[in-house]
Structure formats: C-alpha cells, structure tokens
Amino acid sequence: MLILDPNLSDPDAVFAALMEAHRDLSPEQSRRLDARLVLLLANHIGDAAVIQAAIAIAGQPVSIGKSALDAHSDNEAS
C-alpha cells in the first residue's frame, strides 16, 4: 500500500536536499538526476504495485485553482 500520510522523518530537510541536488544543474542534468533517483527509490520500495500506485497518482492531470481546492475540501468533508 502506498503511504500517503506523512511518513518522512524530516520533511524540510528532505525537500531541501532535493533542491540542493538540483541547484546549478541544466534541465538535462536534472532529468538524469531525477531518473537515477526514481530508480534507486523504486528498487528500495520493491513492490511493483506500490510503485504503480505512485505512478498513477503522480500522473494525474495537474489542476491548480479553485476547482482543485473545492475537490480537496470535498474530500476532507466526506
């Protein structure tokens, strides 16, 4: 099961480490870094079903703005 609740021991540090890794990289270098990172993490997770669940969520159409916020609050209300 893909964990969607907070699970990181130090979220701010993890986010900062990702930003730091990409600092000064060209888009191409960034893509390479991300690809390597995804593969390393995917192997660590191991379970193909978990990875596929993550791919499905990550690939959902991006909607920013009011409707997305509405949908979100609907979810929280239900």
């Binding site: 893509r31 390479r32 690809a35 995804v38 593969l39």
Partner: protein, 529 residues
C-alpha cells in the same frame, strides 16, 4: 567458402481434385518443422512452397534451449550442436565500458545450452533432408497458393506452378506462409499490432576475430554514437552485426556496401580483415492474429504472429507452435481425440505468443527510447547497472526466448498434492543427467516418445502403461539411474511420484503416488475428451 543455397527441382503440377489429409502452405522453418513432426507421427503431408530454396540471407540465428530439445526429438539435435555455435553468456556495454555480463544457463547438468547460433538456411536444409528421409512428406517446390476457400470439411486450394495450375483439397490446412501470409490475407483476417519507428542494418561478415562466442550488446558505443549495436557469432566464422540506424535513415543509402564496410571497420578497428557476406535493412513489428484456429485452417509461425528480433523469439515461437499443434492434429486424424482438442492450440499458443510480443515490445522500447524522458531513464539504468547489481535486472537488450509455460491451459490437471517447486502442469519437461545401463545419458531423450508418457520415480512395475519411464535413486534394471539426484530434485520427486507428459513433453499432471484412475482422467482432460 560462402554458403551456396540449394536449388530444389520444381515439382510437377498435381492432379486437379486431389485430396489430402494435411496440406501445409509454406516450406519455411516452421512449415518444415510441422511437416517433419507430422511425418514422424506417421501422417502423410503435402507441403506447398512458392520458392525453390531455403531461407535467403541473414534471418534467424539464435535457437533457444527448448527449440534444441524439440529438434532433438525430431532427430536434429546433434546436428545443430555440431554445426552451431554454443553460447550461454552475454555482455552489455554502455559507451566505452562494459556494464555487466550474464550467464543464461547458470546451472550445470543440462544437455543443451541456453542457445545455439546457426544460420537459418542450414536448419532449413536439414529439415528438408529429414522430411525426405521419412518418405511421408511430399515437398512441392514452386507451388504457389493463389486461391483458397474453406468450410467445415477442409480447404480447397488453388495452386500455381511454372508448368500449370491445379486445385487440391485439404482436410486440414496449416498456414505457415510467413509474415506476409497469403492465406491470412485472403481470409481477410486482421493482423494487428504495432510497428516500431526504427531501422536496423544487418551486416553478416566473415572474419578471423578474437571475440568469444557470446552475445555482445552495445548501447551508444563510441564507434556508433547514438545507436545500439549487437554482435553474434554464427557458424563458418560468420558474424552478425546489427546496427540501429534510427527511423530517419535512408535504406537505399545505408545499404551501400562501402558505407556498411566503413561502419564495420569503425567497430573492429583498422587491423581486422573481413568480408561482407550479406546486408539488409529491417523495420520491426509486433502483431498477431486474434485466433490461430479458423475451423480447419490453422496458422503457425510468422503467419500467425510477428515479433521484433530482440530476444530471438520469432522462429523459436514458431517451432513451439508446431510442437504444440502436431500431436493434437495427429490424435484428431486418428480419431483418438475430438476436433475440439485443436481449440486448445489457440488457448495455449495465443497467451504464449502474447508473452513473446510483450517481451519483445519492452525490449524494443528500451533499445529505442521514444522521447527524452525515456532516454534519460534508459541511460540512468545503464549507468547505475555498472555499479549497482539492482539496476542490472532493468537493463533490457532483449529478454531471450524462454519456453512457454502453458499455465491455465484447459488440458492441464491442476495439482492436488503438495509440491515445493518442481515442474508444474503446463511447463515443459526439464532435462537431467541420468545413467542408462551404466552409461551417461539424458532424461529428456527418453521422454521424446511422441506419445503421452508417464515418468515414474520408482522401480519398474509390471503391467505399467506404455510408454513409461522409470527413474530410481539407485541402479535398477529397466530404470534410469538418477546418479546425481538431479532428476528427483528438478521434479521435486519422491518415491512414487508420477508425472504425465504430453507428446510435446509438457506436463499434463503430476501426483505424489501413482493412481491409474487419476491418470486416466488426466489423459482424457489432456485430449479434450
């Protein structure tokens, strides 16, 4: 000396209205395999082929272990081993360096290696000889099928020959007429799938080179930037080199021998002398017919399905089609099984070929990344693979042909007893070294009866069904001696274990104890009775 294709004499036209139990359209590798197998079952066969020779140029070269075992059953195993180049090891390179190597047969105690490389024309030449030797195969060269109708009683075929035309009637028609199958087209059957937007240059060169007999695959090597290159050794010091050219390459320009020589020289270095034997340019498709059985017309080989060559799955699949179909057709022709048994050819070979299509599609997607992101992932896998074992399993330069396991086949009798591993229903029999009358031998040879065969792990029993092969842990007259314990280990056998094998050596069912009633039931299930 370069290979000279045999020319077979054109057969005289037949008598209009002749009738035959089985007619095979296409005397290529798969049609000839089916003809030989049928003939060895005692069935007379007519083969119609529009050409008068064997496969031209560089096509199939890699024959997988299962294919070698099937050809051994058909009497050609030793010949393939003698002439072919045995290999088990592959290496993958990225840029300048080797990323990793792999052994496809890491386990000892198998008669046949993971692969033998041999030019397709040799195999076809031997198949023709073997067909003739049976006296049961009427091979008609230069007989082109140009018309076809079919109904519940069979097919009527119009045939064109240089010396006149005729029609014949076939109770059963096997369509093995290749990727552009006339039979498929004339029946209007859709052949759907996808084409890969890439082109490959195939160059066969003769040379005295220091490379070992291994499969070498380069991604983006310095001598062929941006593309992949595959090197294989074949018989007669011939090497096959595949260069990935990309979709935009102009085939006419790329075919120019001088240009090809320059590519090969860049790869081998200036000091290796070579002769160019063959050049061709290919694009690849993955597709199949929805069903392989259409009443009394049965499709096999490339006429039924096509894959990209990465993984060597095309011909190897076609040989397994023939292996699967022939014993069923034989039983139906003998009245020993209902026609419905032939529906299991669809039920078993369609999923098996889907597995081939899936694997070869994935390989092709890895070798030809579709966009910048796919390329970044591909390159990341290759970079990581050099350092970290985990990434090696992601490198896909071709998932090499594995025998089909007919899981879920309606002919299987599911396990009732407890097994830890072994060879489950649907899987092909596994070989093991044994001793026969004190001499080294192989189990699979004894299971190549062409009939339903029982494999029993116990001393011979009087009145056992024929044929039965007994295997014992200690020497015992009339039994194969499992001197290394590998037969028992591979089949998860205990004393009393009985395994029922179909004529194509796939397991129909298995039991911890011999039980004649259960075996009888399983035999009926496996014959769709």
């Amino acid at each position: 000396m370069p290979y000279a294709s045999p020319r077979y004499a054109a057969a005289p036209p037949g008598q209009s209205g002749e009738r035959h139990p089985v007619v095979i359209v296409g005397g290529g590798m798969v049609g000839l395999t089916a003809a030989l197998d049928l003939a060895r079952h005692g069935q007379p066969v007519v083969v119609l082929d529009d050409d008068d020779t064997v496969s031209i140029g560089s096509r199939a070269i890699c024959y997988a272990k299962r294919t070698l075992e099937i050809y051994d059953r058909l009497g050609l195993g030793a010949r393939l081993m003698d002439k072919g180049v045995v290999w088990n090891r592959g290496r993958v390179f990225f840029g300048e360096r080797q990323v990793y190597d792999f052994d496809l047969l890491p386990e000892a105690g198998h008669r046949f290696p993971a692969f033998v490389n041999l030019q397709q024309y040799y195999l076809e030449e031997w198949l023709v000889e073997a067909c003739h030797a049976t006296g049961q195969v009427d091979l008609r060269w230069k007989h082109k099928v140009v018309g076809l109708t079919h109904d519940a009683a069979g097919a009527t075929v119009s045939v064109q020959t240089p010396n006149g035309d005729y029609t014949l009637h076939a109770d059963w028609l096997l369509a093995a007429d290749g990727a552009r199958s006339f039979v498929r087209e004339t029946l209007g059957l859709p052949f759907v799938g996808k084409i890969f937007r890439d082109r490959f240059l195939i160059a066969d060169v003769t040379m005295q080179a220091p490379f070992p007999p291994e499969r070498w695959f380069w991604f983006d090597p310095p001598f062929h930037h941006g593309g992949s290159v595959l090197l294989h050794r074949q018989a007669d010091q011939v090497w096959r080199i595949d260069f990935q050219l990309g979709w935009d390459a102009d085939p006419d320009v790329e075919r120019d021998p001088e240009r090809v020589r320059a590519r090969v020289r860049a790869m081998l270095g200036p000091d290796v002398a070579f002769d160019l034997e063959w050049v061709s340019i290919y694009t690849f498709r993955c597709r199949r017919l929805e069903r392989f059985r259409h009443g009394r017309v049965l499709f096999l080989g490339d006429a039924a399905h096509q894959v990209s060559p990465f993984g060597a799955r095309g011909g190897n699949a076609g040989v397994q089609d023939a292996d699967n179909l022939v014993w069923k057709l034989d039983l139906v022709l003998r009245g020993a099984a209902p026609e419905a048994l032939l529906d299991s050819y669809d039920a078993e070979r369609v999923p098996a070929n889907d597995e081939n299509i899936l694997n070869s599609t994935r390989s092709t997607d890895f070798i030809t990344p579709k966009n910048a992101a796919a390329r970044a992932y591909r390159d990341a896998v290759l970079e990581l693979a050099a350092e970290f074992p985990f990434a090696r399993s992601l490198v896909n330069s071709g998932r090499l042909s594995r025998p089909a396991v007919l899981t879920g086949s309606p002919l299987n009798t599911g396990d009732r007893d407890h097994w830890s591993g072994g060879v489950p229903p649907g899987a092909p029999a596994v070989d093991a070294p044994v001793q026969h009358n004190g001499a080294e031998d192989w189990l699979l040879r004894h299971l190549a009866t062409g009939q339903f065969t029982q494999l029993r792990f116990e001393p011979p029993v009087v009145g056992a069904a024929s044929p039965t092969v007994f295997v014992t842990a200690t020497p015992c007259p009339g039994a194969l001696h499992d001197a290394h314990g590998l037969a028992a280990a591979r089949y998860d056998a205990q004393p009393g274990t009985t395994i029922l094998l179909r004529p194509d050596q796939h397991v129909a069912g298995r039991w911890r104890q011999h039980d004649p009633a259960r075996l009888r039931q399983a035999m009926e299930t496996a014959r769709a009775c």
